[in-house]
Symmetry: none
Subunit: 125 residues, 2 copies
DNA sequence: CGGCTCGTTCACAACCCTTTCACGGGCCGT
DNA sequence: ACGGCCCGTGAAAGGGTTGTGAACGAGCCG
């Protein structure tokens, strides 16, 4: 688990999270997230721009070491992506790093190297 | 295999690699690389400016002696070049030294003279 | 109790990475 | 220029990893 400074405000792109208030905003609008979803998002935001291993995300958010077959992180990443994409389809916030974990960084959805993983051929925009 | 100092940062031109974070950046933007690709790039960066024999690259990145017919290094050099060229077409980072191996050095691409290889006896450029 | 939300787990599909093969073109010594 | 080795490059197979929808159960509340 991770401390929440009372006044902590995490930002990335149009995203804003106030962990102490259990509140996530996108462009000023409230984004309804469950506890796990918000904790996971906060953990990623605090490590913005870095690749965060699953093990670190799990131990931070779930408070226990990750068991080898546990897919919880993936499932919640999926839920986060779904909710973020519904509000901001033009941005990708969560990026997969194959074999390691995830990285949070607001990037335009389509240009250049697409996406989520390390795709080989991205098409010529 | 090669040690990754936790804070090691490798640079060449607009390229920046942080092996410990599994992260490669070009002009601040993330360059999506697979594990092998990143390891190979890091190995070249650590030997920047020198001609690195295939045998050395293979044993460093793959952790085993190079077998005589193994083309893995060539294939991954190709993948690296492709990804680098897509982001920075004006630069050539990886140079072939016929019969020996590869050398990493950021150099402007010659628009009219496509000299792909470098002879050993060419000396420094 | 009945309906709801949330968290967990499962199963299958989709995808990515690595390795290997094959073909063609390049480079070099003769 | 020739022949042979070397390198560039696309493709494909195999296996591991991640995406995704759905089922299940616990807790909450009317």
């Amino acid at each position: 688990m991770e401390l929440n400074r009372e006044d902590e405000v995490l930002r990335a792109g149009d995203l804003e999270v106030r962990p102490a208030d259990h509140l996530a905003l996108v462009g000023g609008r409230t984004l309804p997230l469950s506890v796990r979803e918000l904790d996971l998002l906060a953990a990623l935001l605090r490590r913005q721009g870095r690749v965060v291993p699953r093990e670190e995300l799990y131990s931070t958010v779930w408070g226990a070491p990750l068991r080898s077959s546990d897919r919880s992180v993936d499932v919640y990443i999926h839920k986060l992506r779904a909710k973020l994409a519904r509000v901001q389809p033009q941005y990708r916030y969560v990026h997969t790093h194959f074999g390691f974990g995830y990285r949070l960084a607001p990037e335009l959805s389509h240009p250049f190297h697409t996406d989520v993983t390390n795709r080989q051929q991205d098409g010529l925009q």
